[in-house]
């Protein structure tokens, strides 16, 4: 139900984390979704794509793919990021 808000929070969290890697570009975000986190994986994926697949140049730095792992907690965590060099992207 609130997956659009969660998708925005994922992107905010990624952007914050990426401040540590100035010459990198993020291509994949690894998320761990707990069974009791109240987040539906498919709905989150849908919302995430709706945000990131836009063609606006401002959106180019956003990750393209979600790598979702389900687990038995009540947490929603960003487990890892997959990065590439900006030159590789160009």
């Amino acid at each position: 139900m609130h997956e659009m808000g969660i998708a925005c929070s994922v992107i905010e969290a990624v952007q914050k984390e990426m401040e540590r890697y100035p010459r990198k570009r993020v291509v994949k975000v690894g998320l761990r979704i707990g069974a009791l986190a109240g987040v539906d994986a498919e709905s989150l994926r849908f919302c995430f794509e709706a945000i990131t697949k836009g063609s606006s140049p401002a959106r180019r730095g956003l990750p393209l793919e979600l790598d979702i792992e389900l687990c038995a907690s009540d947490e929603l965590e960003m487990a890892h990021l997959e990065l590439e060099d900006e030159e590789e992207a160009a």
Binding site: I6, A13, G38
Partner: protein, 229 residues
């Protein structure tokens, strides 16, 4: 391409703001409670009865969240305590930033902050608002399976208010099964049965509230004393 480990909660920005609220309210000895329940569970009516029974001299404030309208705030304002409506304009939950923004301009000292979340048993569960406790309001018209269907909130809530018990004779709701289901999810959950219509259980609820307000104030005073030593 390389992979870097992050291992952070996605809502860590919300958590950071919530921690700030918790510190600020904790320092002032303010007990903060986050009421979560389905639409129509009776959260607003319960808060009305609570405000009615609290002395107008007690420093109490209410934040009430809804997707649209300020009708809840107008209902709650009649009891002489400050009330602010948070209209989320579509969002199905309150987040810490909304609470932080609405706390601005209120007196530094409050004994009690009551936060009525948007009617929803799922999304509000994920967002820490800097509260001392979450309270889940479950009404007997909703069915006794709710704790099993929405385990997240029943696991996180310290207290379950089983509400509208005046309707028990008219609905096929088994209170023992409801209690058992809540305890299957959260064995330590406290349960108070109440009715805002008849007033049943409200003494017990007000007693719970008074004890928590008092212990919060004592904790804050003790901490302040230690700090000044």
């Amino acid at each position: 391409m390389n992979r870097v480990a992050v291992e952070k909660r996605v809502l860590s920005e919300n958590d950071r703001i919530a921690a700030g609220i918790r510190e600020r309210l904790g320092g002032a000895g303010t007990l903060s409670l986050n009421f979560i329940g389905s639409p129509g569970a009776g959260k607003t009516a319960l808060l009305e009865k609570t405000l009615e029974r609290l002395s107008t001299e007690a420093a109490v404030a209410v934040l009430t969240g809804d997707i649209q309208t300020d009708s809840d705030a107008r209902r709650l304002m009649r009891y002489g305590h400050p009330v602010k409506q948070i209209t989320t304009a579509g969002a199905c939950h309150l987040d810490a930033r909304m609470v932080e923004r609405h706390l601005e301009g209120w007196a530094a000292h409050l004994d009690l902050l009551l936060i009525e979340n948007v009617g929803n048993l799922v999304c509000p569960t994920s967002y820490d608002l800097g509260e001392d406790a979450k309270i889940v309001v479950l009404s007997v018209t909703e069915g006794e399976e709710k704790p099993l269907k929405y385990p997240g909130i029943f696991r996180k809530a310290e207290l379950m208010i089983l509400n509208k018990i005046d309707l028990l004779p008219y609905v096929p709701f088994n209170r023992d099964v409801a209690r058992e289901n809540a305890r299957r999810i959260h064995p330590e959950i406290q349960i108070i049965e109440a009715s805002s219509t008849t007033g049943a259980g409200l003494d017990e609820w007000m007693g719970w509230l008074a004890a928590r307000v008092c212990s919060k104030r004592v904790t804050a005073e003790t901490k302040a004393e230690y700090a000044s030593c």
